[in-house]
């Protein structure tokens, strides 16, 4: 259905409330943060208004570069893992009877009600030496003695994928439900095995959905700062952890603001780049 574009000012009225909310709770705080990022730190108090690039200059070091690189890599890995697990899962889920689907979705929604702290400590118990899953493996004779699986990169990744997976599935679900099941059937009548049909019909037909979901999980994972601390070593800490550290424990608001602005710019440019590449490929 095609709707007429809004013409008069009154037509835009429904946008007024969300626009106001966005301005008050997003644009204004973000602007303040940008301003603060150019301020000077006052060791005695908080910060002094100024216009200096010191905070950004300090950021341009090998250490922070490495942390930024790690944060981006972690977020990309989490996003990729989530898609790889969630896409086939959701695809199979949409082919089950309605009742089964509802049960699974309710279960997944309940995971969303868990806070990041609870998820973190649950996994730290599960991966621990004393009470973790390795004890089970020992019990069934697969391992000689229980080992601690944390703090490791794998533990951080597991926790973050666990946390992001329900979101991924809930974003993919509507698109996969709407996908015409005869597309894969057509591929099968043309000689593609079910697995092949999945990879060269279902996946490409939903390319845009997959890219959008990747971006969403990427941004979601970029903001995670609790799980890396609970499940990882300091070298697994993300930029978000350092920002929290600077802002809250070091009271260096201008530097934290500079890092935050930088992180936003980097992730926005990555998202923009992905969309640009996608559009070019679609046009070709």
């Amino acid at each position: 259905m095609r709707r007429e574009p809004p013409k008069t000012a009154a037509d835009y009225a429904p946008l007024a409330f969300p626009a106001l909310m966005l301005i008050v709770f997003f644009v204004v705080p973000f602007s303040i943060m940008i301003a603060v990022s150019f301020f000077k730190r006052d060791p005695a108090g908080f910060y002094k208004p100024a216009f200096v690039f010191d905070n950004y200059a300090r950021f341009l070091s090998a250490f922070f570069g490495e942390v930024l690189g790690f944060s981006l890599m972690l977020a990309v890995t989490v996003a990729a893992c989530c898609i790889v697990i969630a896409f086939p899962f959701t695809y199979l889920l949409t082919r089950r009877p309605r009742r089964v689907q509802t049960l699974w979705l309710v279960g997944l929604l309940s995971v969303l009600s868990l806070s990041e702290v609870i998820i973190g400590f649950a996994w730290s118990t599960l991966l621990s030496r004393t009470a973790g899953i390795t004890n089970l493996l020992v019990a069934i004779g697969l391992m000689d003695q229980p080992v601690a699986l944390l703090p490791t990169f794998g533990a951080v990744l597991t926790g973050m994928v666990y946390q992001a997976l329900p979101y991924t599935i809930l974003v993919l679900y509507p698109a996969l439900v709407r996908l015409d099941p005869t597309l894969t059937e057509a591929a099968r009548t043309l000689g593609a095995s079910p697995v092949r049909a999945f990879f060269n019909v279902t996946v490409p037909a939903l390319r845009n959905t997959i890219v959008a979901t990747l971006i969403m999980v990427f941004v979601f994972a970029l903001g995670s700062y609790l799980l890396p601390q609970i499940l990882g070593r300091p070298r697994h800490w993300t930029l978000s952890v350092l920002i929290t550290d600077q802002a809250i424990y070091q009271s260096n608001m201008p530097f934290a603001a500079a890092m935050a602005v930088f992180l936003v710019l980097i992730s926005l440019s990555l998202v923009g780049l992905t969309l640009l590449v996608g559009r070019r490929e679609n046009a070709a």
Binding site: R188, T189, L190
Partner: protein, 345 residues
């Protein structure tokens, strides 16, 4: 036997038998239409032939090979879906070449075959267009070409023309039939449109409630319907009660039709007579007398509705033999015995 044979196939969904003990032989190179109202099991039967549904019982044999449990992708078939199911992310050419690409055919062969097929469907030069930019009729042709890319043994179509407007649909029916005859490919079409079935098929299979009610050439189905349901489903018909007395004399709505032979032993039956076989005459000279209730003059044909003995009888005539009747007039209705078919009701 060469061709497709379906032996006592049943498909149950829970307690419900969608297809109930169906046996059908489809000779090689013939065009079969599965015809019936929605929910009669025709699509389920087609999907079992394609391997997209597994039969609960029975066997499907293609050219002497039992393919009942063979996975879809190993059967040699091409299928056109009701939704067409063209791959939205591929161009026209890539859609048609899909089956060849899956089998790893060289790029050159793929391009050559695509060009061949595109010229067959009168869409030469469309290879690089996205399928989303095509009209309904063009998409239809692309779906047909894609299904035929590998010259399959079986060509299956599920309500292929239902998305097209009436004019285009009639044209495509003729085109599809001509294409099938040129290629000599065994074809099975599911449809609920009896005109479509009559236009295209060598053999029309009328289904109802999961069973085959009648399988015969179109004109035979039309002329000699097996039962009242088939008679009513194929074309327009008059279904009238007929009674036979002890001496074997038949009467319709109380008027004697002496030449009408009913199966012996029955006292009550139903006859089917096509509107074009019903003739109108002056009162008293026909089999029955009735009152004209409505005249529908469509230009090409004139339909007259006559009420007689509590039933409405429809008569169709061409303008040349224009019956000179008006609403309210009493007329005589002639039911020629040779055109009356006794059907199971």
């Amino acid at each position: 036997m060469s061709g497709l044979s379906i032996n006592a196939i049943t498909k149950r969904f829970g307690d419900f038998a969608a297809v109930d003990d169906v046996t059908l032989a489809v000779p090689h190179g013939s065009f079969v239409c599965l015809l019936g109202p929605s929910g009669c099991g025709k699509t389920t039967l087609l999907r079992m032939i394609a391997g997209l549904e597994e039969p609960s019982a029975g066997a499907i044999v293609l050219d002497g090979e039992d393919i009942t449990t063979l996975p879809t992708h190993k059967r040699s078939l091409g299928m056109v879906f009701q939704s067409l199911a063209l791959f939205p992310h591929l161009t026209v050419g890539d859609n048609i070449a899909y089956a060849l690409r899956i089998r790893g055919a060289p790029k050159q062969d793929q391009r050559k075959r695509v060009e061949e097929l595109l010229s067959m469907i009168h869409l030469s030069g469309f290879a690089d267009r996205p399928v989303t930019k095509l009209s309904g009729g063009q998409r239809q042709r692309v779906a047909i070409a894609r299904a035929l890319a590998l010259s399959p043994k079986l060509f299956l179509l599920d309500e292929p023309l239902s998305a097209l407007d009436a004019k285009l649909r009639e044209a495509m029916q003729v085109e599809l039939r001509q294409l099938q005859q040129r290629l000599g490919i065994t074809t099975i079409v599911v449809t609920h449109d009896q005109r479509e079935a009559m236009t295209m098929a060598d053999l029309v299979v009328v289904m109802g409630k999961g069973k085959i009610l009648q399988a015969a050439p179109p004109i035979e189905i039309y002329r000699k319907p097996a039962d009242a349901f088939v008679a009513d489903f194929i074309g327009i018909t008059n279904l009238l009660p007929v009674e036979t007395d002890g001496a074997g004399r038949s009467s319709v709505l109380g008027a004697a039709v002496p030449e009408l032979a009913c199966p012996s032993g029955t006292t009550k039956a139903t006859i089917s007579i096509r509107p074009e076989d019903v003739r109108l005459t002056t009162p008293g000279r026909g089999t029955l007398d009735g009152t004209v209730t409505f005249v529908r003059d469509l230009g090409g044909t004139i339909e007259t509705f006559v009420e007689a003995g509590g039933m409405t009888i429809t008569a169709v005539a061409t303008p040349r033999e224009r019956p000179d009747v008006q609403v309210g007039q009493t007329v005589g209705v002639l039911l020629p015995a040779e055109n009356c078919v006794v059907v199971k009701s």
